[in-house]
């Protein structure tokens, strides 16, 4: 297990390094830079050159990149050109906001999708299962962009929930409790926009997997022995069927980040996605690289987490991982 974890940590480090380097180099190689974005705002050519020199943009790509890499290895991602603040500081705060949103969305999606999948997976017919199946197709066809726009429209017309942002001005001044209550009012709309399509996906995976387990000989023989169906589902079939959902989590996390970008833009949630977008637009390359690094840490953590859940649910996976055979984890 220790060896397995060690390998995973190395793989994660490689992912983070590749993604953030790629983002940095892509932004650096792109035509124009942050200084040329300022062009036409009345900045003289001399001060433009000065600004460039200050952030090392006048040096060859290779030497600039190597210096950045050396510093990044020590977790110093440089200074944001636009915000004039250390990248680490900016990213930490925004990443926490995205993590809150993503976690809430994931919990919400699981709370809706998993029970729904158990219902549709354990019975073929029935009014409830049909309704859930229909709802699932509809939700699957409603991507976060549309869901968030519609939810914002409903919120704006009814005034039930705030239409955007993460907190009201001064909510935290009145104490932690009122701050949290304020957050709880801002959270449902964006979280729901991300969670709804995700819940449909989880429902599908769980439904299919449980259906397959229920068709296995052991399930049939259990039923034949007179064990009630309900007990078969909850006691015997659920655990072996949880693997696929667990392994989709690692994969869902990429979708979660993508979904959260759109939702963050629509609902003005101050998260990593908006920061990355602003940084890309402004050609703020150190900030772009920092955001990419944070995003890839999220991805790596997610896939590790999903592997651990699969291992908990299925001893066969545990053995494969311990034996070091490739396939299951990668």
């Amino acid at each position: 297990m220790v060896r397995y974890l060690g390998r995973r940590v190395i793989a994660a480090a490689v992912l983070v390094a590749v993604v953030s380097s790629g983002a940095l180099l892509l932004t650096r190689l792109a035509p124009g830079d942050f200084a040329s974005e300022l062009f036409g705002t009345g900045v003289s050519a001399g001060s433009m050159a000065q600004e460039r020199a200050r952030y090392g943009l006048d040096r060859p790509i290779a030497s600039q990149y190597l210096e950045w890499l050396g510093r990044a290895a020590r977790l110093d991602f440089g200074v944001s050109i636009v915000y004039h603040r250390p990248v680490v500081e900016l990213v930490r705060q925004r990443a926490a906001n995205t993590a809150i949103l993503a976690l809430a969305a994931l919990l919400l999606a699981t709370a809706m999708g998993l029970p729904a999948g158990i219902v549709t997976g354990s019975r073929r017919r029935g009014a409830l299962a049909s309704v859930i199946r229909g709802l699932s197709v509809v939700l699957l066809s409603l991507p976060s962009l549309i869901t968030s726009l519609v939810l914002v429209m409903v919120a704006a017309r009814t005034g039930w929930l705030p239409t955007g942002g993460m907190q009201s001005a001064g909510a935290w001044d009145a104490g932690t409790l009122s701050g949290l209550a304020d957050l709880a009012r801002h959270l449902p709309l964006p979280a729901l926009a991300i969670a709804l399509p995700l819940a449909a996906m989880i429902e599908r995976v769980q439904s299919q997997s449980l259906g397959e387990v229920m068709a296995m000989p052991f399930a049939l023989s259990t039923l034949a022995r007179g064990v009630p169906r309900r007990r078969l589902v909850w006691r015997d079939a659920l655990r072996p069927s949880i693997g696929p959902v667990a392994s989709t989590y690692g994969f869902v996390l990429g979708g979660l980040l993508s979904g959260s970008f759109v939702v963050e833009v629509v609902t003005a949630w101050p998260g990593l996605g908006r920061l990355m977008y602003d940084a890309l637009r402004a050609r703020d390359l150190y900030l772009v690289a920092g955001c990419a690094a944070a995003g890839s840490v999220f991805l790596a953590l997610g896939s590790l987490l999903s592997d651990l859940v699969s291992a908990w649910a299925d001893p066969r996976v545990r053995q494969r991982q311990a034996g070091g055979a490739p396939g299951a984890a990668e």
């Binding site: 066809s141 962009l145 726009l149 914002v152 299919q208 759109v262 990419a292």
Partner: protein
């Protein structure tokens, strides 16, 4: 259900092709007196309860400050069908144009923009899907057929792309390129970027099929008859993937439509002058606009309809119940 969904997908394509005939107005024409005008429903029953040839009530301005209009029940203008090269139009537009879905910020007809926008949005998505299939089938076919190091290299690359959050990759690639480009360049650029993100899905599916198919007798027969490697791969093995590739295409298409909408929504896609579902949604980025003029979300409904139809077409293959 499945046939119905497939038929509606075909209908959407047909509607996009026939946009010049179906659209009641020019998509770029601005009606200054009708900014954010509400949808004008055609009526068949008049206020006195009698039946009529389909007609509309012209709009009149109630409040310029709030951009509110209502229908003038006192007047009615009949619709004309198959006249002037249009499916339907007003017999007389002195009281203003017919805006079946309302108007946008510039006073442009939303329905006409939606119809012409379908050409742009679907065009990008179809082009991107074709490109993704071309790249994916070639890469996946090679990986499955050659095996070994080629397989390893291609599939590792594919997995790497699959792991990345697609939206960010698309954003980063698009943001790295010049922002202001002619619309044909934006069109092909977007399709290219989407294909770069989408090919691994196709490659993975094709590789799995080719890897099992090549061990079958018919492949061995072709080889022993002296068929070249390329011929075995492209003539015998890839055709076995047809069904799978078709399903992948139907999955990719709506996600590319959504990708266009997302890019244009955040302002990195088509400019406002080019009608597309995304550039139309861009005007809905303001909360007040969405709240006051919900018909501005019409493109979102169109995206939902196409996605739903696509999901229903492949419903059976994705759910084995």
């Amino acid at each position: 259900m499945r046939t119905l969904a497939a038929a509606s997908l075909a209908l959407v394509a047909l509607v996009a092709l026939a946009a010049p005939v179906l659209a009641p107005n020019d998509p770029g024409e601005t009606f200054r007196a009708f900014l954010y005008a509400p949808p004008m429903r055609p009526h068949v029953v008049a206020a006195d309860g009698t039946w009529h040839w389909p007609f509309v009530h012209p709009l009149r301005l109630v409040s310029r400050l709030e951009q509110r209009y209502d229908e003038d029940p006192g007047r009615s203008v009949p619709l004309q069908f198959f006249a002037g090269g249009k499916l339907a139009r007003l017999a007389d537009d002195r009281d203003g144009p017919w805006l079946p879905l309302g108007a946008d910020r510039e006073g442009r007809d939303l329905l006409s923009r939606l119809l012409f926008g379908a050409r742009t949005s679907l065009g990008v998505a179809v082009l991107a899907t074709l490109a993704a299939i071309l790249i994916g089938a070639t890469a996946g076919g090679l990986a499955g057929y050659r095996g070994g190091l080629v397989d390893e290299a291609i599939m590792r690359l594919a997995e790497f792309v699959l792991v990345l959050p697609a939206v960010y990759v698309v954003l980063a690639l698009r943001a790295a390129l010049p922002l202001v480009l002619p619309s044909w360049a934006v069109f092909s650029l977007m399709a290219g970027i989407f294909a770069l993100v989408g090919w691994p899905w196709v490659a993975r599916a094709v590789r799995a099929v080719v890897a099992t198919e090549r061990t079958k007798d018919y492949a061995a027969a072709a080889v022993s008859l002296g068929a070249s490697r390329a011929r075995v791969l492209f003539g015998h093995l890839l055709p076995a993937c047809r069904g799978l590739v078709g399903a992948q295409a139907i999955l990719l298409l709506p996600s590319f439509i959504l990708a266009e909408a997302t890019l244009s929504y955040v302002g990195l896609g088509f400019p406002d002058t080019v009608p597309s579902w995304g550039s139309m949604l861009h005007q809905a980025s303001d909360v007040n606009v969405i709240a006051e003029f919900p018909w501005m979300l019409a493109p979102a409904a169109a995206i939902f309809a196409v996605t739903l139809a696509a999901n229903l077409v492949i419903e059976r293959s994705s759910r084995t119940v």
